[in-house]
């Protein structure tokens, strides 16, 4: 187990270095020039050259990358071109907001998914079941920004229940978190449903029923825990989806997280911030996958044997 853990963590670190390398090369090759962007429209060639030297952009690509890697190993993500602040500081300042949003989004998704998945499994072929199966497809086909704008139109502009945008109170988080979670909830419900149907057909569930346990106890004590495994794995794997969703949701709701930080940085060609946010997201995704892999054997002893 420990060896497996070490090997997986080693692999994850390698992947992160790979992500750093690919992003670095991509940003180097793309036609947008940060020096020109910083110098402004009316700058002379001399000014642009000075800025380029100051930022170290006149060095050859391998040197630039090695310098970046050297700093990265020491936990230094460099300085923002436009905000003249350390990138770590900027990201850490924005990270809590994004984490709150993601946690609430995942909560919405999992709670809705569990509730509807269980109801659907218990009423196979019934109305809720068919509705869940249909909605799961609608959920993965709906554009997040349209749903966000519609929530704003209905619940903020028309009904006035929630603020249009911003951050700070519970009311601020409800719409963005629901937008983030509701679309995937159908898919979770689908997974819970099929896992529950499999589990409910098992012999031990029949035994539990045969010895006279109440239906509630059978479902929540004997069936559900065994149906949870795919859900746990799915949350881990879904972190990537959430990281992507966060960019759009933060943009529409004016949520001050790393998605917005990234969006501003992209428009200003602020390469250190773009690198920093990409690496942070990649770290979240890799960790999510790792956790999904490692938690599975803890919950399900059958996997441990393999």
């Amino acid at each position: 187990m420990a060896e497996l853990l070490l090997r997986r963590i080693g692999g994850a670190i390698l992947i992160l270095f790979g992500v750093a390398a690919v992003t670095f090369v991509l940003l180097y090759w793309l036609p947008a020039d940060p020096a020109v962007q910083l110098a402004g429209r009316s700058a002379t060639a001399q000014t642009v050259a000075n800025i380029r030297r100051e930022l170290g952009l006149d060095q050859p690509l391998p040197i630039q990358f090695l310098t970046y890697l050297g700093n990265l190993i020491q936990g230094d993500l460099g300085r923002s071109y436009t905000q003249k602040t350390e990138v770590e500081t900027l990201i850490l300042a924005r990270l809590p907001a994004t984490l709150i949003l993601m946690a609430c989004g995942i909560l919405v998704e999992v709670v809705l998914g569990l509730v509807f998945g269980i109801i659907a499994a218990l009423n196979r072929g019934g109305f809720v079941d068919r509705a869940v199966m249909t909605m799961s497809f609608v959920g993965v086909s709906a554009p997040q920004f349209v749903v966000a704008l519609f929530f704003l139109y209905i619940f903020a502009a028309t009904l006035g229940w929630f603020p249009m945008s911003g951050f700070g109170t519970v009311n601020h988080v409800i719409l963005p978190a629901t937008t983030l979670g509701v679309l995937g909830a159908g898919w979770y419900a689908r997974m819970v449903r099929s896992a529950m149907i499999d589990v409910l057909a098992q012999d031990y569930v029949r035994t539990a029923r045969a010895k006279g346990l109440s239906e509630t106890r059978v479902i929540f004590r004997h069936a559900l825990p065994n149906a949870l495994l795919p859900i746990i794995a799915m949350i881990g794997i879904d972190i990537g989806q959430f990281m992507s969703g966060v960019v759009v949701v933060e943009a529409v709701y004016g949520w001050p997280g790393i998605g917005q930080l990234a969006w501003q940085a992209i428009q200003q060609v602020d390469i250190p911030i773009i690198m920093g946010v990409t690496l942070t997201s990649a770290l979240a995704i890799v960790t999510g996958n790792l956790v999904a892999d490692l938690v599975a054997p803890l919950v399900d002893p059958r996997i441990r044997a393999r």
């Binding site: 790979g18 993965v140 349209v146 704008l149 704003l152 139109y153 990234a262 990409t278 990649a282």
Partner: protein, 282 residues
Amino acid sequence: MRILREILRRPSAVFGLSIVLLVVIAALGAPLLAPFAPDEQMFDGLTLDGAPIPPDATFWLGTDTLGRDLLSRLLYGARTSLIIGLVANGTAVLIGLTVGMLAGYLRGPVGNALMRFTDLMMAFPALLLAIVLAALLRPSLWIVALVIAMVNWVQVARIVYTETRGLVERDFILAERSLGAGHLRIVALHIAPHLVPTAIVWGTLGIATTVLLEATLSFLGIGVQPPEPSWGNIIFESQSYFTAAPWLVFFPGIAILLTALSFNLVGDALRDILDPTQRGRM
């Protein structure tokens, strides 16, 4: 023929297929169907205060903030969505097939390197990568398609890799090899045909993802650029106005949703029908 018959037996797939046909008709027939030119800023297309007109008898779906007919723009927008859907997703499936098949067949150091690269791409937040690429390149229809293809091939590659690996181990490949067949013959005649169902399923399902991604990029202003209409950039252009003119978000939003939904439904039905492990279970 069998596939079509199977599809017609599923109500959700029939629904999906009809919407797909409608979108294709809208895209092909846009010049004939559109009541106005998509980029014509009409004199009577705005109210006296300069506000867009809600849906009425002349402008069935209303007008946008520049006094252009929304229905006409949506019809032409269907072209953008379909072109990007087909080109971007077609490219993604081709790249995915090539990488997955090479990695699965060759294995060894080359196969390993290819799959490690695929794993690496999986660790990228897809939308963030697409946004960075699209924003820093000059956005145009083809760049958007290319960016989406670069992000979307990964999943196909993984699936094809797993399938190819399974195929390579099978006895009929071994038999073929012992008869002296070359690599090219084995791959082209004995492996590729088995991957056709996967290609068809992902060629359909992927269009849904692509349509959504294009809409999102265009909504952020880094996808298809106005005045060329796309469902995403129609919403982008009227975003700040949406509480006063909700139809400008509603109709394009529904168009995106229905298109993605129908490709998902058809793709899902195709997966059920074509996946041999599912066959006979229904």
